[in-house]
Symmetry: C2
Subunit: 637 residues, 2 copies
C-alpha cells in the first residue's frame, strides 16, 4: 500500500501547485512585483552603469574565467584516469601548456581592446571586418552555444562542490541545480547590474582562498618534505598512453580558459582611461590565473590526488591541508558562489549577444525586447530553459559537456583574431605590423587548438557541436531572409497607397435570444453596415424555436439559419462565408464576423462554458480571410 | 560518455515529435480522418444500434463483469498472503460468499430491469425516485470514479496477463498500458458501436477457455486424485487471522462483481421481447460467472496456488494443466483481449453517464458534445487522461486500486435499490410487495458490504474515496448553481429588451505605415464611426518619425501618440482607454479596439513575429470592457 500514499501525496502536491499557479495568474502583477521589483524607465538604462576602478572590475569580470580553475585541471586528469597512478605526473606538462595558451589568448585579446576601445566581442569584430555574414554568425552561434553550456556546467560544478562537502545533498543535485538556475533567472530579471560592486567580494574571497591554499601547500611541503609518499614518480610513460589521449586531456584542461572574452566586451564599464584599465586588468587576471593554475596543479601532483566523481579534486586537496575546519568551509562555499556568479555573468552575456544578433535580423526579434527591469527577458528565459534541459539530461553531471564548449570558445577566438588581422591590414596605424603578427600567431594557435579539440573529442560529442553550429547558422540565415522578404512585402509608398473605405458584410453569430446576444446585436447595429445574424442549429426543433424567438424579438436584422448535420459549427459557417465570397455582383471586400464572448467572473468558470469564440477565431484565422470581432459580456455571478 | 549519446537520441526524438505534431496540426483534418474516420450525421445515431439476440448480447455486455473473474479471487488471496500456506483454503469460503452476493445483486438488478424496461442505471433510477439531487449525484459520482478505476485496473491486468506469459515485456508494462488506453481512445472516437457483434467472440472464447480450464482441472484431478501434495489442509485457523483480515479479503474478492449494471443500462439493445431477453441474459450470466468463480477457486485451492506479483494465479493454474502450449497461449491472449474489451465498454459507460449528468447541469456542458463519430469525445478524453494518470502513478500495478472501486460499486448499487424501494411503494403494481422485499434485502446487504469495505480498507485508501466522492458531489452542486445563476442573468424579455445602436469610439493600433496598417485602416474607414489611430512609442526618435510618416500619409484620421517609458504596450493603452471612458460629456457606450494581425505563411514563422495582437486580446479581455477586432493580414512569403 506504500505506493498508494505516495500517489495521493502527489495529487495533493499537484492540486496545491494548480491553486498557486491559478492565484499567481489572477494576481500576476503583484507576484511579479515581489520577485522582479518595480519596472524601470528606458531612460534609467544608462544611469545604471557606475564606472569601475580596474581593481574592482577585475573580480567582477573574471568570475567566469577564474572559476573555471576549479574544474579545468580535474577535467584534464579525468581523461587520463584510466592509465593509473603512473600518469598522474602529466598534470604538470598539461597545466603548463594550458598556461602558455592562456598567455597567448590574453595578448590577443589585449589587441582586441586596442582595436575596439568601446568594447567588442567576437561577433562585433567579425561583423566589422567581414562583408559576408558567415564569420560573424559562426562567432555568435558558437558563443551562444557556449553560454548555454557554461550555465549548465558552472551550476552543476557549484552543486558538486557543495555535495563533495555534504554528501547528504548528493541525491538532490539535479533539483538543486535547477533551483539555482531559476534563482539566476529571477536575479537577472530583476537586473542587478553586472557592475554591482557587491559581486566583487565573493570572487576576491575565492581568489584569496585559492592563493592561501597554494601557500598552505608550500608551507606543508616545506615542513613535510617536497616529495611525499603519495607523490607519483615523474617522467614514467604509462602503458596505453597515446598522443590522442594527451591531446584529449589537454583539450579538457583548456576548459579552464573559457570566459576570457568578458573583459573585452565590457570596456565601457571601466573608469577612465578605459583602454589602459582594461589592459591592466587583463594582465593582472592572466598573472593570477596562471599562478593559481600552476600552484593548484603542482600540489595536486605532490599529493598524488586522483579524480573522484564524489569528491572534487579541489575539495580533496583542501581536506589534506585544512581538514574539515572553517577554512575548508569558506573555500567550498566561495567556490559555490563564484561558480554561480560565473553562470550569472553568462546570463548577461547571452541575452545581450542574442539581442545584438536579433537586432541584425538573424534571430527572432522577440530577443530584443527589454523587460520591466531593462534586461532582455526572452533571452534570459531561453538560456535558462536550454541550460535546465542539459542539467536534467545529464542529471547535473555535466563533465561530459566540458570538452564540448572548448570547441566553441576557440572557434570564436579564431574568428575574432582573423577579423583583427583584416582590420590591421585595412586600418594600419602605429606598429600595425607588430599587432598583425601577434594576432596571426594567436589565430593560428587558436585555430589549431579548435581543430585538435574537434578531432580528439569527435566521438565523445564534438560531432554534436559540428552539427549544431552549422544548423544554427543556416537557421539564422533563413530567419534573416524571412525578415527581409516580409519587410519588402509590407513596404508601401505613402503617397500612393492610402486607406479607402470597403464594402463589408457583418455576420453576427447568435446562439439564442439572451442578454449576451442583445449586447452583441447592439454593437453590430451601431454601424451602418449590412448585418446578417447567423444561427447554427443541430436539429429541426431547435431551428424552429430559434426562428420563432427571432420573430418575437421583432426581427432585429436578417436571420440566416444553417443546419449542421455533423454538429460542427465551423463547417456550415465556412460554407456560408464561401457563398458570400462568391456571390456574383455583390461579393463584399471583407467579411466581418462578430462573435459574442462570455467572460465568467472566475477564470476557472471557463471550463463550464463552451469556448466557441476562441475556436472560431483560431479556425478562421488559419483558414479564411475574415475579420473577427469578439464582443465581451462579463458575467456578474 | 554513455549519457551523452542517450541525450542526443532524446533530442532527436523530441525534434521528430515536434515535426510530427507540427505536421499533424497543419494537416489536422487529414490525420483525423485516417484515425477517426469520416464524420457521421446526427441522424445516423439511431441507425447504429442493430438489435441483438440475447445470446449474442450476453458476451458483449458481460466483458466487464466476466473479465473480473480473472483478477477477483487473486485480489482476495493477496490480502491473506501474509498468513502463509495454512490460509490458502480460505479461498473457498470467500469465493462462496462472493457468489452468494452475486446472486443477490443479479436478482436486485433484474428488479431494476422490470422497473425501467427502457434502460436505467443507478443515476437514472435515483433521479426518478428522489427529489433532492444528492442520491443521484452520489450514484453518478461513485460510478464515474469507478469507471476511471476500471479502465486503469482492467488495462493493467490485461498487460500483467501478457507479461506473466512473456516476462520480457515486464519492464515496459506502464508504457504498453498507456498505449492500450490511447488505442481505446481512438477506437472510441471512431465509435465502433458497443453492440458490434465482433466483440462477442473474444468473450465467448475467454468463457470457453475458462470453462475448459475448469473441466481440464477436474479431468486432471480425476486422474491424479482429488487431493494433491500441494493441496493445503482445510479448516486450520492460521496464526494472525482476524475478522478484519477475512473481511478485507472478502472486499477485495468482490472486485470480481463490478460491471453488473451494464446489462440494465442496455435494455434497448436487445431484440424483442426486450425485458425478457435482458432477464434471461442476467440469469445466464449469473450462472456462468458463478460456475467459473467456483471452479477457478476450487482448482486454485487444490493446486495450492499462491499469488505471485510476476505471474497471475490464472497463468499459474493454466501452466499446471496446459504447460506453455497453444491452449495456454489462447487463454492468455483471450484474457488480454477480454480485459481490454472490459475497459472499452467502460469508455461508453463513462462518456454516456457523464453526458447525462452534464445535460442535467451537474458537470461541465462540454461533456454533452458529440464528436464527429457521435461519441462523447470530451468524456472519452477525460476518462483516458485520468486512467493514464493512475496507471503512471501506480506503474501499471493497480492491485492497490482494486479494493477502492468496490466501495463505489456498492454505494451505487445501494442508491439504486433504495430508489427502487421508493418506486415500488409509489407505483405499486403486481406483486410489488415481493419486489419490495427483494430490493429491501438487496439494499441492506449492499449497504452493509459498502460499509464493510469502507471500514476494512479505510487506511489502505478507502479514505481517499470517502474524500473524493463528497468533493465531486459538492463540485457538482456548485456547477449546477453556477449554470442556474448564469441562465437567470442572461434571460431577457424579448418584447422589452431589444438591440439599439450605441455610440462607439474605434481605436486602431498602428505600429508604423505599411501594408498591414493600410489594410486595417481601410477596414476602420469603412464604418461611420469616430476613429482614432493610436501609436505607442518607446522613445522620442521613433515618435517623431511616426508623426512625420502620418503627415506624409495624408493624415487618414486623428493620430494619438502615447509615450511608454516602461516599454509596455498594454499600460499606456489601458490609461488612454480609461481617459476615454471618463471623458466628461463625451464618453462612448463602447470602446472598440482594432488590432492588425499578421499571419505568416508557415505556422512556425510565428516565433519570428511579436504576438502583440494575442497579448492585447488576452489582457483586455481580463481587465477591460473593450470590444476587440483583429484584422488579419496574410503574408505571401
Amino acid at each position: 500500500m506504500h505506493h498508494l500514499h505516495v500517489f495521493w501525496l502527489e495529487i495533493v502536491f499537484i492540486l496545491l501547485a494548480v491553486v498557486a499557479i491559478g492565484y499567481s495568474f489572477s494576481n500576476f502583477t503583484n507576484v511579479k512585483r515581489i520577485f522582479i521589483g518595480r519596472p524601470l524607465r528606458t531612460k534609467e538604462l544608462h544611469a545604471q552603469h557606475t564606472k569601475l576602478f580596474w581593481l574592482i572590475a577585475l573580480p567582477i569580470l573574471s568570475a567566469d574565467l577564474y572559476s573555471s580553475v576549479a574544474y579545468g585541471p580535474e577535467a584534464g586528469m579525468t581523461e587520463l584516469a584510466g592509465l593509473g597512478a603512473s600518469a598522474k605526473w602529466f598534470i604538470l606538462p598539461i597545466t603548463v601548456s594550458t598556461i602558455l595558451l592562456l598567455a597567448i589568448l590574453i595578448v590577443s585579446y589585449i589587441m582586441g581592446v586596442i582595436a575596439y576601445p568601446s568594447g567588442g566581442g567576437a561577433y562585433a569584430i567579425a561583423k566589422d571586418n567581414f562583408k559576408k555574414p558567415f564569420p560573424s554568425l559562426l562567432a555568435s552561434s558558437s558563443l551562444l552555444v557556449d553560454y548555454v553550456l557554461t550555465v549548465a556546467v558552472s551550476v552543476s560544478a557549484a552543486v558538486e562542490a557543495v555535495s563533495s562537502a555534504y554528501p547528504v545533498v548528493a541525491p538532490f543535485e539535479t533539483i538543486i541545480a535547477i533551483v539555482c538556475v531559476c534563482l539566476l533567472v529571477v536575479i537577472n530579471l530583476r537586473g542587478i547590474a553586472e557592475s554591482a560592486k557587491v559581486f566583487a567580494w565573493p570572487t576576491f574571497v575565492f581568489m584569496g582562498c585559492m592563493l592561501l591554499l597554494i601557500a598552505a601547500g608550500f608551507l606543508f611541503e616545506f615542513r613535510h618534505g617536497f616529495t611525499q609518499a603519495s607523490t607519483p614518480p615523474i617522467g614514467t610513460v604509462p602503458q596505453g598512453l597515446s598522443t590522442l589521449l594527451i591531446l584529449k586531456a589537454f583539450s579538457s584542461a583548456c576548459s579552464a580558459l573559457t570566459g576570457i572574452e568578458t573583459i573585452s566586451n565590457a570596456v565601457p564599464v571601466f573608469r577612465e582611461p578605459q583602454q589602459k584599465s582594461a589592459i591592466k586588468t587583463y594582465i593582472a587576471l592572466g598573472v593570477i590565473t596562471a599562478i593559481t593554475l600552476f600552484g593548484f596543479a603542482y600540489h595536486l601532483y605532490i599529493q598524488g590526488i586522483t579524480p573522484d566523481p564524489h569528491n572534487t579534486m579541489l575539495s580533496q586537496l583542501a581536506e589534506v591541508y585544512y581538514g574539515h575546519g572553517l577554512l575548508y568551509q569558506i573555500l567550498i562555499w566561495s567556490t559555490f558562489i563564484v561558480l554561480i556568479l560565473a553562470a550569472n555573468s553568462t546570463f548577461t552575456g547571452f541575452s545581450q549577444l542574442a539581442a545584438i544578433v536579433a537586432a541584425d535580423g538573424f534571430l527572432p526579434r522577440a530577443l530584443t525586447n527589454r523587460g520591466d527591469r531593462l534586461g532582455y527577458s526572452n533571452g534570459i528565459f531561453v538560456l535558462a530553459g536550454l541550460a535546465i534541459l542539459l542539467i536534467i539530461a545529464f542529471r547535473a553531471h555535466t563533465n561530459a559537456l566540458i570538452p564540448l564548449y572548448a570547441i566553441g570558445v576557440f572557434l570564436s577566438f579564431t574568428v575574432a583574431q582573423i577579423g583583427l588581422l583584416r582590420r590591421w591590414r585595412r586600418v594600419k596605424g602605429t606598429k600595425w605590423r607588430v599587432k598583425f603578427v601577434i594576432n596571426l600567431i594567436g589565430s593560428i594557435i587558436t585555430a589549431l587548438v579548435a581543430v585538435i579539440f574537434a578531432f580528439t573529442k569527435f566521438v565523445d560529442g564534438a560531432w554534436v557541436v559540428l552539427i549544431v553550429l552549422p544548423l544554427i547558422i543556416v537557421l539564422s540565415l533563413m530567419i534573416k531572409r524571412h525578415y527581409t522578404q516580409v519587410a519588402s512585402e509590407l513596404k508601401i509608398d505613402p503617397k500612393e497607397t492610402r486607406p479607402v473605405a470597403h464594402r463589408i458584410i457583418t455576420i453576427v453569430l447568435i446562439s439564442g435570444v439572451h442578454r449576451v446576444v442583445n449586447n452583441t446585436m447592439s454593437f453590430a447595429k451601431s454601424f451602418s453596415n449590412e448585418t446578417i445574424a447567423v444561427y447554427v442549429g443541430f436539429d429541426d426543433e431547435s431551428i424552429d424555436k430559434m426562428e420563432q424567438k427571432w420573430e418575437d424579438w421583432g426581427n432585429p436584422c436578417r436571420l440566416v439559419v444553417l443546419r449542421s448535420s455533423y454538429r460542427s459549427i465551423l463547417e456550415p459557417i465556412t460554407r456560408f462565408i464561401q457563398t458570400l465570397e462568391k456571390w456574383e455582383g455583390g461579393a463584399p471586400d471583407h467579411i466581418h464576423l462578430v462573435v459574442p464572448q462570455f467572460i465568467p467572473k472566475k477564470w476557472w468558470h471557463n471550463i463550464l462554458h463552451n469556448q466557441n469564440a476562441l475556436l472560431l477565431r483560431a479556425w478562421f484565422f488559419r483558414n479564411k480571410n475574415v475579420i473577427i470581432t469578439t464582443v465581451p459580456y462579463r458575467l456578474t455571478k
